[in-house]
Symmetry: D3
Subunit: 245 residues, 6 copies
């Protein structure tokens, strides 16, 4: 059996979580976020789309859905203790063709100067959502490039200096190598996910709330088995900038 890892060992630092849609952060790493917050870190969640097409309901207009989801996200933010949510505002489903997404993440990295960063694993097999893959690749590249002064020279000239982020954690990993015990925060994770009411019809389980809660917990339990604890979230941790020798 794999030995369990602790949560990332950062205290009083900035953490960046980069996701595609409102509810991604809660779904994929909500338990870990709550633990990082408890150690006194400042967390910024960057949400690349506005989530405007995420509904099966033909009656709700995209522009209205955006407002609904902002409110839901704000509730979730408070539940987990996230200090700040930044919306990049791109349309749902179009991230893979956004030319300046990488630059915007690089700018945020240089502004926030985080110690760790969390995002999607873009190599996850059978993850068909193009926004998820796009965010994973772009964020990983942004982390690598943010440290070079001649990438985005405008930022350097503006005084946003190169910044090195030692550790990158990829959630929903293809090859997990790091587990966080979320037994103490599983209830927060569930609660923060449930407030995204507009999204609950996407869940493929019985309609009632209890079976959905059960499903979330079951997945965290299954992950927990891999590392010997009640509930866990898994990651692939990257702690070298490059593979280049």
């Amino acid at each position: 059996m794999v030995s369990m890892n602790d949560i990332p060992l950062v205290y009083n630092e900035n953490t960046l979580v980069v996701v595609a849609h409102p509810d991604d952060a809660e779904s994929f790493c909500g338990g870990t976020i709550a633990k990082i917050v408890q150690r006194g870190n400042h967390i910024t969640v960057v949400i690349c789309t506005n989530g405007d097409r995420g509904s099966h309901d033909r009656q709700i207009r995209p522009s209205d859905l955006v407002h609904v989801r902002q409110k839901e996200q704000d509730q979730a933010r408070k539940i987990l203790g996230v200090e700040e949510v930044i919306w990049l505002g791109y349309r749902d489903g179009e991230l893979s063709s956004i030319g300046d997404l990488r630059e915007r993440i690089i700018r945020l990295i240089r502004q926030k100067q985080p110690s760790i960063i969390l995002t999607f694993d873009p190599w996850k097999h059978y993850e068909f959502h193009p926004d998820h893959r796009a965010v994973g690749f772009v964020t990983g590249e942004a982390r690598m490039l943010a440290d070079l002064p001649w990438i985005c020279p405008e930022f350097t000239m503006e005084g946003l200096l190169p910044w090195h982020i030692p550790e990158l954690y990829l959630f929903s990993p293809q090859e997990p190598n790091y587990w966080v015990d979320i037994s103490s925060t599983i209830e927060l994770k569930v609660k923060s996910r449930l407030v995204h009411c507009s999204q609950n019809d996407f869940i493929q389980c019985d309609d009632d709330r209890q079976s959905f809660i059960g499903e979330i917990k079951a997945r965290a339990q299954e992950t927990g088995k891999a590392c010997g604890c009640a509930y866990a979230e898994a990651f692939y941790k990257v702690d070298r900038t490059e593979l280049w020798i």
Copy 2:
């Protein structure tokens, strides 16, 4: 040993098979197609390119090759019992840069309202053909998005309503999790592949017909071993829309 799966349990339903080139359907899932047909299902094969560059012969002109391949495909169609072939007509080798491919597949999904859909596994390692990867990604995304009313709102406004396809089967899979016993249809598969005469010089075996037949059967046998039958085709079956919790 993995237990063998049956073929998808659909009767008298529509099935969509989305491939890149004429001969892909026969090569990758011809045996399975024949079995699905035998259950009374209606199969539509969507071929995204016209296959115009698929020849080592400098003397044959691309515009002529297109006609040759249409005739070959029509023969193959009849052998397998496929009811309809739809040609999207893009040029061979260029699918990864076609901006409206996804929309066209979404339209077809809403028009045909299939119960299952088959396409390439875009995560297959060492699959260098860019058209194969493109078709796999685009089709998987189209299946996911076809169910949302605000994706391609023009279609919704035209009366082509959102459609949910419960099951997606990826052939040539990176991580097979589903096998179809094609022992009863292996001869149809071989025959349907052989009529693509223009493509036979791509096969890397002895020139004569027998060795080619042998090679096709050998691969199906090898796959059969994984699931305990004489001949099989392997798939990765996706039966949830999203991975999103």
Copy 3:
């Protein structure tokens, strides 16, 4: 234990090594290059970018860095016995958006008519450098397409005829299936890598030269263990053009 492979069995032939940056060839397959040279083969290293942003030093200007790296690469070339280096000259970090990169590699393949070709494995998990993935995909596709007369018809019309490369070796492989014993050339590899002085601050080990040398050797030793020799480099060898049956 996996049995060790020899080096590719080519003598007095052309070999193409396609990389993204100066220092990639030395880092990823320098030991193998030296062995191929020793068998009397002619090696051309194609470097797609000019490496102009590869520095943490804000004081060095990109246009000056280009010259520094050309000199470093020329030293490395001589150490390994590489006959020719071709610079495509694209900017560092932008390869994934270069529309004509594939065409240029196809032209080079038809001009040089190599027997084998080496490049990145674009499926390597957690390889975040977009240039590395781009070079791997583009080169693998170019190898496949260079053999078709109606791809790049201008080249065919110019007299650059279709060319088939029987063997492709992908370095930094996701699924290694081929190992080269570089015990006799490990010192050349180290030496050729060390002359890329401008890049040494990217190495995450102690600053001094000895620990860097140690790191290079440690990785080659680890690879060697997989195949039973002192030092090795690993590859995924592709020796069929297509997976297409």
Copy 4:
């Protein structure tokens, strides 16, 4: 007063008319087309879009409108004596972003080998329709480039040899320098335009048929005044390939 020109002096030759939408040919040069036909020339009208969005009627679906307009165009074709209509099938309003439009026109020029070609004047001030400008530029460029063997080398290799079109006539011209007396064909022009019933609500005159007829004639009369005849259509005639000294 400017002296009147005759119609282009071609007999028993091919003529290409390249337009954006069904009804463009009739509206802009219908009278001239009828006269060219009367001299025994063979006319091919190339319509780049399918006209699918050309309606104020929310109830008619784009895919149905396409069929309506094909029938209308076929009636118009017969009235004017046009032998052939070729539909390129792009969507209405998107021509300016179609990457391969120029290539397709070059191919048609080499296939049809016309003596003269008619299209939009892309320099017409206050012509806001992006499809009209796109067709004018692309067709003029295609005429210039169709004569060069290394443009579209695939066509040359296929046996579609370079072709020089001595004369280009731009209708709806910014700087008219050529007028065709259409007094003998004005009724054909009117009739051919009227059969495009789906488009008649775009005409900004009284709803009844007579006032529309009056408007068409009034414009032809006004043009006629510039050259001393009852009814005329105006052009800018280009009879040199290049301005290049």
Copy 5:
């Protein structure tokens, strides 16, 4: 001499002014805006860029300049009596490559339902600023297309119905055909332009304020001569939707 036109005959209606940068509205049609306001109309100025690169000063950062210019624009807005300013927020100098600009203007047209619209004349010779040409073309096209239900079907589905704008006025016209007497508002125009202090070093006249004022007035006087009044602004007025017969 050309007879003078009045200002557009609209009362208590919405007017849309679409420009590229803060200060464009004041510079090109500030006097006309003030007159339209005086007739009780509601004016919305849409500014496509944020003006972030519009400075010769290397010390001011683009992100700071944006804030400076917003304040300047707000002052100008109040001077002219403009009710609302909408910022689209694109970067200065990049409008010609913004794919969704036209859609955003169409949305605004359908939301605001204006009676008249003012923008750049994109045919103005020797206007080298690519943003000015882009805004002119895109806005003219948006006006034409906003009236078609199958353009931007999402908007139609959301309830933003097609809207016809009878009159379009192009300022800085290549072929003026409409003049507005701004003698009563010339001082407001000057004042509203002067508050854009960050832009005053672009003015090529003596540095002091008086000579700049003189230059603005001189140009309005020169325009006034063409139509027989003290001060005027010139336009090309388009009052047909199409040129299409």
Copy 6:
């Protein structure tokens, strides 16, 4: 009659001439170049394409044509006294889709710091060559933007500071407002044009050399009539950076 202008009043300064193809500079402003040289100025001709498709001869390969044209251009350079020719090397006919052309011209402007710049008038009616229009627009924009520090911040950071070019001359002008008397350099112009032997079959006059010479002189004479001298070249002179009030 318009009064004749002298040549631009610059002595011992740098001049940039930006063209699309070898032979453009000689054809459009060769006489003016020779006069500018005689005043002791240093001229750099920037040729954006390599001219690889500029031949009716199917036997000559594009890659060979490039070399032929470089030799021809070098002869022409010496005849006119041009000090330096810079080749950007893009393919003939593709300039309008080159994303970084503007940046490269801006870099050259900041490096060479010219007092005047000459290029195509992109508004010239009936100039169908897309490369000519592209060079005209891009160069005019580059001149405008080269003076702003936050455009191409990398250049600024490298020490290539903003540079203002007071005067821009557009040759082959739509609205000539400036004429240069080239009576003393007409023979140099003719001679420099004649050495581009590979291009002479594009000239539409009798094949022999004399009639071609006659044609060049006839055009210069016609231009000369407009300004009262024997031979002239015409320009549109732009001496304000912006039209922006």
